[in-house]
């Protein structure tokens, strides 16, 4: 198995009542190389915490994360992370944002510039390479953030609601852009979203999480080839089912925290 989560459990202490709150409750998940997995769940269920654990940014949890046989213990460029708020460096131009990982690696300037320019070209951003992030549209900022992550050729790419703050037209464009990219590169992607349509359009598997404490409620396999019809019967059936599970989850009473 390529990426493996074993019995991930995350708790934190509520300082007001001095009680332990369980955020993630023993999640097991196996992901194969080249798969596109979406994680959907009610907001505040701990999806972001889960990504932070896998990326190595979060250290205080129980369980293990293995990537290609190696235990993840600290952030490293083998696990790429794309943030919802883009997290671009405002004082760097597009090109310098994209090449920063190579710069940290110690690659020569001319070399890393050439690679970054290749990404800028294939991402359809030529002519904007010397612009600063605030001069770019939301969609383009997110493409810069994706390029900055992919340029390191990570073994797995984590995406935390990357299109969450885009308008719906740009969001659709970005979904198609991401699909094209994936057909070409065959990256392994773990994609967190609260948008069910998006997950149905993009993923090989959809993992549905419960509300807090997060557990896996169900996993859907989708074998329809890409590019997908957003309104096909299969897509609609899955969408209906996922939405129904999430609705049940919202109205059910949460169990008392132990």
């Amino acid at each position: 198995m390529y990426l493996e989560l074993i019995q991930i459990r995350k708790t934190f202490v509520n300082p007001k009542q001095d009680t332990e709150v369980v955020a993630i409750d023993r999640i097991d998940l196996q992901i194969e190389k080249g798969q596109f997995i979406s994680i959907v769940g009610p907001s505040g269920c701990g999806k972001t915490s889960l990504l932070r654990i896998i990326s190595g940014l979060e250290n205080s949890y129980e369980g293990d994360v293995f990537l290609d046989g190696k235990k993840i213990q600290k952030p490293e460029s083998e696990v790429g992370l794309v943030f919802q708020q883009y997290a671009l460096f405002p004082w760097r131009t597009m090109c310098k944002n994209i090449e920063i990982g190579l710069e940290i690696m110690g690659m020569r300037k001319s070399e890393r510039r050439a690679i970054a320019m290749e990404y800028i070209r294939s991402f359809g951003m030529s002519g904007f390479e010397d612009r600063y992030p605030y001069q770019l549209s939301g969609g383009m900022q997110q493409r810069v953030a994706i390029a900055r992550t992919l340029i390191m050729n990570p073994k797995v790419v984590l995406m935390d609601e990357p299109f969450g703050s885009l308008d719906s037209q740009t969001r659709n464009d970005m979904q198609e852009f991401l699909m094209d990219l994936r057909q070409k590169r065959n990256d392994t992607i773990l994609f967190v979203t609260h948008n069910v349509d998006e997950s149905v359009f993009l993923s090989d598997r959809i993992v549905v999480l419960s509300k807090r404490p997060a557990r896996i409620l169900r996993i859907f396999e989708i074998n329809t080839p890409h590019p997908r019809d957003r309104t096909s019967k299969v897509a609609n059936d899955i969408r209906r089912e996922v939405i129904e599970i999430l609705r049940q989850e919202r109205i059910s009473h949460s169990p008392v925290n132990n």
Binding site: P75, L81, W91, I104, Y132, R148
Partner: protein, 249 residues
Amino acid sequence: MGRYLPLLVLLCLWQVLCSVGIVANYVLPSPIEVAAGFWSLLTVGMPPGHLLYYHIIYSLYRVSLGFSLACALGIPLGLLMGWFPRFHRSLGPIVEILRPIPPLAWIPIAIVWFGIGISSAAFIIFLGAFFPILLNTASGVSSINPILIDAIKTLNATQMDIFLKVLIPGSLPSIFIGMRVGMGVAWMTLVAAEFTGVKEGYGLGFMIMTARDIQRPDEILAGMFVIGMIGFAIDWSFRAWESSVRPSE
């Protein structure tokens, strides 16, 4: 051009009040007399032989000495305070006790420690500039969006990379603000520090105090305008420098 009209009216009014004798010219010399005083500062000097040009150079020299010292100490300390909360907490009380003491209140003890001269003037100016630089730098670091630090960590960054590629560029706007405020305070402090005496016989503050000693209000006022104009020029060049090194937002 219209916005300079009130200024022109004010100058005319001032001139008229003086010319008709409503205000005695030993209290308030007329604008023409002030201009003549300025000319005399340039050509004769105050005290005679000590030309304006040298006073300006000495003052700038004292300011740049104290100010550079304040930057050299305030920026690194501020970065450390912003990055290590524990360091901030343990340094905080010291800063909070020292900061409210006006720099000018340090003059007597500075003279005891360093004597009258460049060291005590530089020390006073250092104190004026140091705290704005320190505190603005620290708040600049702590205002950096933590997500940027997460982002660079996922790209294999070391502590050094985080420092050089995120903390310093990210807090640069605040550092600039601290430097500008610090420079403003330094310039104000300088003139007062020079009132108390300078060994070399040069300095703008010394110059206008000498003019007072020999009852030359025209040269006092001319000297005040020179001090103001230089302060303005320094602030302006800081802004120009700032906008040349950073993208505007």
